[in-house]
Each structure stands twice: as structure tokens, then as C-alpha cells.
């Protein structure tokens, strides 16, 4: 498994589907017979996981959206957990 660092390009695992749910007024991750409700910050991060951006690029994007907020370590921590749980994976350089 590829190492997780700022240069890692992140993609959602094909086993999960990220989707906005109008009735619940939040983003959810759907998987076989289950669902994870995402809070606002998790949604902000995961909607940027698109198979193109690197972890560093995601952090930069969020910094520009929320200037002055100390987000870097929170994002890294969240991505670490999401990676461990198999929600996101690191795309191998092609």
C-alpha cells in the first residue's frame, strides 16, 4: 500500500459512494448495506477527494476557503482515519 504523505493523490474507494442526502441535510458515505453520516468538516474534506488532488492540494484548497483556520493537522488526522477505514485510497502514480 502506498505511503500517505502530502504528495499522495487520493481517491474514494469504489466500495463507497459519497452522496448528498436532501432528507438528512448532509453528505453520507454509502456502502454495502450501510451508511455513514458525515459532519460538515468531513464533508468539506471528502468532497475534495476526487482522484486528482493530492493531500497537499486538498489542504491548500481548504486553507483558501477558510483563511486563518488551523486546519492542516485536522485534515491529516481525518484522512489517516479515512484511509485506515478503507474510505479513501492512495492512487498509484501512473
Amino acid at each position: 500500500m502506498a505511503q500517505l504523505d502530502d504528495a499522495s493523490v487520493l481517491a474514494l474507494s469504489p466500495k463507497f459512494r459519497l452522496q448528498w442526502e436532501e432528507a438528512q441535510n448532509c453528505y453520507v458515505l454509502l456502502y454495502a448495506e450501510g451508511m455513514i453520516k458525515l459532519n460538515k468538516s468531513a464533508s468539506e474534506i471528502l468532497t475534495l477527494v476526487d482522484g486528482k488532488r493530492s493531500l497537499g492540494a486538498i489542504i491548500e484548497e481548504l486553507k483558501s476557503r477558510f483563511p486563518g483556520a488551523p486546519i492542516e493537522s485536522d485534515v491529516k488526522e481525518f484522512i489517516q482515519v479515512a484511509h485506515e477505514r478503507g474510505w479513501v485510497h492512495v492512487k498509484e502514480p501512473s
Partner: protein
């Protein structure tokens, strides 16, 4: 949410929609969750009816859609329904015996947008599997599971666990790992419907359950990160009831083949309740307004010992169908709970099953789920 009841403004949502497309099934598993009198329910919803149900439920917030049965592959319009479900934004699950699952169908379902296939097994070896299924199907199931994997689906294998196969869950788990399953569910039989008729024949002993649970834990470690292993305990051996359906009318909505809307697959048998039909009512009215879906919703309906119990928020008083089957009144506390005044009924059932296991060298009588037995049992 107000813990002591629901207001109309913040009613729960039917996040899980189970579409029981048909009660027909080529298999005869004696623990089937379908009603014992299924043979009398011949009237099935049309494709248009189902599409209307999918749309209405989705508007209400349903997001997981399970196509179940009987054997849902028997419906020729399954691909149409999957396609509609996927377009509406459901995560679509097919819960199948694999009977009738050909490569052409796996491909067509993938193209229709099916997200996931769960294949059920009756055992980890051919002889017992095919005996319980009442038909030769084991080898086809294994081949189908491999194909499902090959087509990029998440593969979930569901082994139903009972007295004759509980000592061999290691065989099931090794087989599942070899196939490359993502998840294995070791689902102990829940004793409703056909399983209730066959309880003496199916219920394992406590020693068997404890040993199986330990083996399941060992395999959870062994396959960590590769294959998830879930062990669903038989609630007869618990001290507290399961949070059945996560509460009545709280999360699950089942639509039976004839359009009857139910809070769970087994609820149909409960007396004194008139379950609404999607032919006559909207899903919204059924879920929010119908007397049947509000009958055991929340906590106000409870009697003691549930009514004042701090654990009622966790287990919702257990299962209404089990309360009815064992005590005759669905408003009683689930007798699995050791605080229930009827808990001795569960202990008696355990003792009866143990005696049956010891008495019968031929393992005892078994009632298979088929039309003949259904017609007979309903009289």
C-alpha cells in the same frame, strides 16, 4: 429527537427499504423468514407499482434499497427496478440464493447499476447445504460468488447458522477467504416463521454458540484488513433483547410482494394490526400516519419492566414478533430479556431443543419451506 416520544415534526426516516419482490423461491430452507402461509399470497405488485414505491420512499429519505424475496432473481423486471433505484440515488443491494444467477445476469445487473450482491449459503459443504436448501445448488453458489467478485462487486456471503452447521464455521470462513469475499456474515437463525416451526431441530446448544463465537473472533483477527467477519448471536442466549429493527417504524420499511407495508418481514403475523398496502396509500402516509406504523413507535406503548427501564433507549423493548410468538401479546417485553416475567419461556425453549437434540438419532423432524407445507401449516 424527544426520547419519550415522537412529534410529527421529527419523525424518523425509513432509511432502509426492503423490497420483497416475490415469495416464490426454488429453495426450501426450513428457517425461511417468509410467512408460513406464503402460499396463499399470490397477488404481486406490478413493475409500475414497484417504481412508484421506490420513488415515494426515496422522497421520504430511504437510501439503502434491498431487493429480497423469496428469490428476487425470479422477477424478470429486476434489472428495470435496479436501474430505477440506482437512478433515484439508492445504494442497491441484491439479497439472493444465487439460484438463477448467470454470468449474463450478473453483467446485466452491473449495467443497470447494481451496487452489491449478497449470496446466502445454507452450509460450508455441499451435502448439508443442498439438504437444507432442498435442491442441488451449492456448487452453483460457489461459482456465482467467484463471478460476482470478478465483475467488481463487493462480495458478501451470508451463512445461516443452526445446530447442524455451527460446529463448522471454520470451513465456511476458509471457503469465503478463498473466494475473496469482502465480508462474511455468520447469521444465527432468528426464530420466526418457518424457523419457529423448526426450532427444536435448529437451535444450537449454548456450548456450541460459545465455541463458535470464539472461533469467529479468532478468524476476525486472522483476516483483519482483508475480510470482515460478523457473528450474529442467537438472541435466545442473551440476557438482553436485540434492538430489533432499531425500533418499530424507526429505520426499516419492508414492502411484501403483495404491497403490504411492514415494519419488518415477520410483522405480518401480529394480531390486532391492519398493515396498510401501497396500492391504497402513499408510502408517506403509511410511514408517518398509519396506525400500524405508530403502534409500537417510540416508548409510550411500553409496559413494565420496559417502561421505566433505562435500557429502553438502547433496545426499544426488543422484538414485537418474538413477544407475540412466545407470550401471545406483542406489547409485552421481549421474553429474551432476563427482566421479563416470561423469560422462563425462552429457557424452556432452550431445554426443549436440547432434549430434542439428544433424543433423535436421525436429528428429528424438519418442516421444509415449500408450497405443500405452507398450505398445510396455514390450516
Amino acid at each position: 429527537m424527544n426520547a419519550d416520544g415522537f412529534t410529527s415534526k421529527n419523525l424518523p426516516k425509513p432509511l432502509w427499504l426492503c423490497a420483497e419482490l416475490t415469495y416464490s423461491c426454488p429453495l426450501q430452507c426450513p428457517y425461511c423468514s417468509n410467512p408460513v402461509d406464503f402460499a396463499w399470497q399470490k397477488d404481486t405488485l406490478s413493475t409500475e407499482d414497484w417504481i412508484r414505491v421506490l420513488r415515494q420512499a426515496r422522497r421520504l429519505g430511504a437510501v439503502q434499497l434491498g431487493f429480497s424475496g423469496g428469490e428476487p432473481l425470479l422477477r424478470r423486471d429486476l434489472e428495470t427496478l435496479v436501474s430505477e433505484g440506482r437512478k433515484l440515488g439508492y445504494y442497491t443491494n441484491l439479497i439472493t440464493s444465487a439460484y438463477g444467477l448467470t454470468e449474463a445476469r450478473i453483467k446485466a445487473l452491473k449495467e443497470a447499476g447494481l451496487d452489491h450482491i449478497q449470496i446466502s449459503f445454507q452450509a460450508g459443504v455441499k451435502e448439508l447445504n443442498d439438504f437444507m436448501a432442498g435442491t442441488e445448488v451449492f456448487e452453483h453458489k460457489v461459482a456465482s460468488a467467484r463471478l460476482v467478485k470478478q465483475y467488481g462487486y463487493e462480495v458478501v456471503l451470508n451463512f445461516v447458522i443452526y445446530r447442524d452447521n455451527i460446529d463448522h464455521i471454520d470451513v465456511m470462513l476458509e471457503m469465503a477467504a478463498e473466494i475473496g469475499a469482502d465480508q462474511v456474515e455468520l447469521a444465527n437463525v432468528q426464530y420466526y416463521g418457518w424457523a419457529f416451526l423448526n426450532r427444536d431441530r435448529l437451535l444450537p446448544t449454548k456450548e456450541q454458540v460459545e465455541r463458535a463465537e470464539q472461533i469467529a473472533h479468532e478468524y476476525q483477527e486472522k483476516f483483519k484488513g482483508r475480510m470482515r467477519v460478523l457473528f450474529v448471536v442467537p438472541d435466545y442466549y442473551e440476557e438482553r433483547p436485540k434492538a430489533c429493527m432499531n425500533g418499530w417504524g424507526n429505520l426499516f420499511l419492508t414492502i411484501a410482494p403483495d404491497g403490504t407495508a411492514l415494519p419488518c418481514q415477520a410483522a405480518r403475523q401480529l394480531p390486532g394490526l391492519e398493515f396498510p398496502n401501497v396500492r391504497n396509500h402513499s408510502v408517506e402516509w403509511i410511514w408517518n400516519e398509519s396506525p400500524a406504523f405508530n403502534r409500537f413507535r417510540g416508548f409510550d406503548w411500553m409496559r413494565e419492566p420496559c417502561r421505566s427501564c433505562p435500557e429502553r433507549f438502547k433496545d426499544f423493548g426488543g422484538c414485537r414478533c418474538q413477544a407475540y410468538l412466545l407470550t401471545g401479546d406483542p406489547a409485552n417485553t421481549d421474553p429474551v430479556c432476563s427482566l421479563s416475567p416470561h423469560h422462563d419461556l425462552v429457557l424452556a425453549a432452550i431445554a426443549s431443543a436440547r432434549a430434542s437434540a439428544q433424543q433423535h438419532s436421525d436429528k428429528g423432524k424438519i418442516v421444509f419451506r415449500n408450497v405443500r407445507n405452507s398450505v398445510r401449516a396455514a390450516h
